[in-house]
Amino acid sequence: MAVQIEKTMNMEKLDAKIPDGPLALKWTNYKASVKLVNPANKRKIDVIVVGTGVAGAAASSALGELGYNVKTFSYHDSPRRAHAVASQGGVNAAKNYQNDGDSVYRLFIDMIKGGDYRSREANVYRAAEVSNQVIDHFTALGVPFARDYGGTLNTRSFGGVQVSRTFYAKGQTGQQCLLASYASLNRQIKNGTVVMYPRREMLDLVVIDGRARGIIARNMITGEIERHSAHAVVLATGGYGTIFYLSTLAVNSNATAAWKAYKKGAYFANPSFVQIHPTSIPQMNEFQAKLTLMSESLRNDGRIWVPKEKGDKRPPNEIPENERDYYLERRYPAFGNLVPRDIASRAAKERCDAGYGVGPTGLAVYLDFRDSIGKQGKKAIEGKYGNLFEMYRTITGTDPYTEPMKIYPAGHYTMGGLWVDYELMTTIPGLYAIGEANFSDHGANRLGASSLMQIAADGYFILPVTINNYLSDQIRVARIPTDAPEFDEAERSVKERLERLVSIRGKQSATTFHKRLGLIMWNHCGMSRNEKGLLKALSLVKDLREEFWKDLRVPGSLYDLNQELEKASRIADFLELADLLILDALNRKESCGAHFREEYQTAEGEALRNDAEYTFVSAWEYAGEGKPHILHREELKFMEVEMKVRSYK
């Protein structure tokens, strides 16, 4: 099948609005010149925030503190359930508390390098700059970060860097940061600045005269379709990694809100940049979708190995030292087990594909703590990873203190997302995307512990500044009525689509389609891609989409609590988004970060970037039903950093 990608240059619409001045002063200069809204006017302005992870809860509370009227939506029963809760490892910040030479500049460099030179310098520098405020704020909110005996904060080192800058609360840092953000959100709910709408799923964006003015949401208890309006809409709806079905993500995580925004005109950036996490617990049965992540902080003290002999079925403790292949230490002596995630994942897959994998399926490698326990004592290891070890034992029934863990890569994080400018605004005026929902800071790969950092930075410290620049022009706009024809039309199309889903009355459940889609994506658009496979995937997805709309079975009705309908509606969107992932992977004829095209590698099998032709952000535009997606490029200019071939050898 022929793939047509129209390329246009529309620089006017893709203005990233990067402030002038030297890199280190851009954010300072921006803050000094951004337009403000006076307190009396703020009370007349409504802002919708969709999602209550760290980014959404933080943005809601910070906007509430400023005095805006905030309406916050979550498809959970409580904001505290959002999937940021499951982030384990920590929050990076450039505090340099360890006196090991860290600085804002070095964190910036590490992120740019980790993202394999496919992120925007100004955004990344700002994230690094704001990281210190994030730690101050979380500490003040009562996050029980790890501490030293003198009472100061402790840090640990994390994959891909040479300094110790990761602040953590055992292996539950995300939970503690989310609960702190939830607490600050609750304080604003009590103060009346935020109205919380739980158990609501956003099913469309309402755009009036080119501006984002509201959403259509489904009440998940009654099935009622609701209209909500505002002067601006903020999407904090996370990533789309569950497109792979098997992933480390919460099973309800989905792409619907972002996809609806895309279809209403927001560009989608770098959709093929998906991170596969190297250390999850392997799949154990066919009904399992969720693969539990074992934090990569474990790679600080665990050594990864496979037997030197193919198909060695001996229990790991019976394999002597000289018959073990510590393949990461062997190939990457400088970084060893701490190489970035994409390298660790591909290396694991390479060993397993070559026949060295362990466990019943042969799709696993060992992560061994024997030597660290020997050196540091069991107590020290328990102090650092106690809860992770406990979780591993609960799930698998084996004890990682005495037997190595078995791990395998799984879909984990999406660097791609809605395209945003420096102000975190999408290409639809008044529509913002924050946290994992946007594409902005991680380039082609995300460094460990920079996710919590970015989502908190976006939500607490960046959006609440930049949104004023837009809202200052909105102070004379009265409350947006929900009876505009655009609301009528959006509600009508949402209802029509849901009715269509329940009326197919075919034979296969939504989950069946999800599994099949996931397998196509994992095999052909996962951690290793090639043109032949991607073209095949395009046609397989097309067939699957057609089958879905003919043979889907959704029991129950629209106006009821209907979990099968929720799933079906999300999977219908994944079946469309899948095309865009594949197209983007096809179009990017280079290997960079987590995107590995087999045609573009060195003789040693390392990723081969093509800076001359691909130093850009792919920003895709929806052209309408049945029309080819349109590619725009945002050229990336590296003024501060010299582009180097990434080497972790």
Binding site: A58, H76, D77, S78, R80, R81, H83, V85, A86, K95, Y97, Q133, I135, D136, H137, T139, A140, L141, G142, P144, A146, R147, D148, Y149, G151, T152, L153, Q172, Q175, Q176, L179, A183, S184, N186, R187, K190, M196, P198, I221, A250, V251, N252, M284, N285, F287, Q288, A289, K290, T292, M391, T394, I395, F461, K507, S509, T511, R553, P555, L561, E564
Partner: protein, 244 residues
């Protein structure tokens, strides 16, 4: 293994519910309890029936969404795990397993195994926070916290808000849940400034919403999947006395 499931089915809050029996053959011991329910629902959808509604999300024991009574225990018979992490290897061929929603007055049933736990959010909204605006925080290391206090605060802060403690309690008391938050903040200098107002507001809201009193039975501690300890309740009581 082959199992018999007796599951509570209830159409909505107003309808009357009842137990329905399902035969569940070929359950793999490697499954989690929720994957076993996924397999049941797969069967039910295939035969044109309405699947069992239950709440779940992260499936790694941290989000607090899932929770059901399994053979008379919240989250099932194994201590310190949530329903999503409960492995079927703890059951035997031929077992009959009874599955019910949380039973507590402040948690009305919404559908099947899903209950409304928004009362727990209401208590947090009443005072479960430290009042610091974005941008107002001091430099993080200017607040020194003894390592021991910080670790104890962490042990309280790991509560996932699942509601098992309330469901386990014969009085439907939320004391363990509330005391976990109160303790976290009481142990940290950041939380001390508004300790009085916080404990008063949270306890008053808890009483107002119809949660029962604590009679020191300890069922909450025994059933808590995150092993939140009764000592938190003692600390809550101390904080409460100090506040009046």
């Amino acid at each position: 293994m082959n199992l018999t499931l007796k599951i509570w089915r209830q159409k909505d809050t107003k309808s009357k519910g009842k137990f329905v029996t399902y035969k569940m053959p070929d359950v793999s011991p490697e499954m989690s309890f929720l994957e076993m329910l996924d397999a049941l629902n797969h069967k039910l959808i295939g035969s044109g029936d309405d699947p069992v509604a239950f709440e779940h999300d992260c499936r790694e024991g941290i989000c607090g969404s899932c929770g059901m009574y399994i053979n008379g225990h919240p989250h099932g018979p194994v201590p310190a795990v949530t329903t999503c992490l409960l492995s079927m290897r703890h059951f035997s061929d031929g077992d009959t397993i009874t599955v019910e929603p949380w039973r507590a007055k402040p948690f009305p049933v919404i559908k099947d195994l899903i209950v409304d736990r928004s009362a727990m959010d209401q208590i947090q909204i009443a005072g479960g926070f430290i009042s610091v605006n974005t941008g107002a925080a001091p430099e993080a290391n200017s607040i020194l916290v003894p390592k021991k206090n910080s670790e104890e605060a962490f042990d309280s802060a790991v509560c996932i808000g699942c509601g098992a403690c309330v469901a386990a309690c014969k009085n439907a008391s939320a004391m363990l849940f509330v005391s976990a938050r109160i303790s976290q903040y009481a142990l940290l200098p950041q939380g001390k400034v508004e300790a009085r107002e916080r404990v008063r507001a949270m306890v008053a809201k808890m009483d107002e919403l119809g949660f029962g009193n604590c009679s020191n039975t300890g069922a909450c501690e025994a059933e808590c999947p995150k092993q939140i300890r009764l000592v938190n309740i003692a600390r809550l009581n101390r904080e409460y006395y100090k506040a009046y």
